[in-house]
């Protein structure tokens, strides 16, 4: 395959992978819950290899979205990534949130997800280490995101302590602060992941 075909096949395989995993999670949630953490990446890699083997050299998929000279522009890749995020998000079941206690737990899960995504975008191999060469975000950006997540986490801890002390107003207030900080981080990450 040539360079453009490489990119297109990788993108198509990634898109197909998310679609297949989403459908599998929807129809077989219990089975999919048993898959290892890196199963998605493994499956995507497998599809890329299989498609790369099947698709001939110079395959004529150079204008997938009718965008003229798009093979030289990453714009259609961004569109595919966005579609992938939307499709994937549709397959996720959101936990119930009808108390401050639930809110704390869901916010903690969101912080964990944001931290994992930041690490994926940075590619650092050690805690506090530098981002990998060619990573999507810089080490400074990663450190800023880490500090914001830590601040949100601190508010969450205070919310938990307040809830334990039956100070429900204080707990709600702390939780709201954590959620506001988290929304900021999530917005930055979503922009980076497009």
């Amino acid at each position: 395959m040539n360079g453009s075909t490489n990119v297109q096949v990788s993108a198509i395989a990634t898109f197909a992978s998310v679609l297949i995993l989403w459908l599998a999670r929807y129809f077989q949630p219990e089975l999919m819950a048993t898959t290892p953490e890196m199963f998605g990446e493994l499956f995507t890699g497998f599809l890329i290899v299989v498609l790369g083997w099947l698709v001939p050299h110079d395959a004529s998929v150079t204008k997938p979205l009718g965008t003229g000279s798009s093979p030289k522009s990453p714009a259609w890749l961004a569109l595919l990534a966005l579609a992938m995020l939307i499709l994937g998000s549709c397959g996720i079941q959101h936990p119930r949130v009808d108390s401050v206690s639930d809110g704390i737990v869901v916010a903690a899960a969101d912080i964990e997800t944001a931290a994992q995504t930041t690490q994926q975008l940075c590619g650092n191999t050690q805690p506090g280490g530098e981002c990998a060469p060619g990573a999507t975000i810089s080490t400074d950006a990663k450190n800023r995101l880490r500090d914001q997540l830590q601040t949100a986490q601190d508010q969450l801890l205070l919310a938990d302590m307040a809830l334990q002390a039956d100070e429900s107003v204080e707990a709600s207030d702390r939780l709201a602060r954590a959620e506001a900080l988290l929304t900021m981080v999530q917005t930055i990450l979503e922009e980076r992941a497009r």
Binding site: N6, L85, G91, E112, L121, D160
Partner: protein, 64 residues
Amino acid sequence: MNSAAILQAINIMLAGLKLVESLGINYQEVIDAQKNAEAEGRRKLNRAERRVFIDQAQSAIDKL
């Protein structure tokens, strides 16, 4: 596109995939904990259960 741009495009897509996957896994853990609490006749998670999720979040931050 050069190889660096290709790698970055793939990296971005994998990050998107990771975001969706992590969100699904982390939310599933919360849903399971809520179901377990309901099975025990409780509507809310207790502090020990909350701390498990808070500690997991701290562990993920510490890896950055």
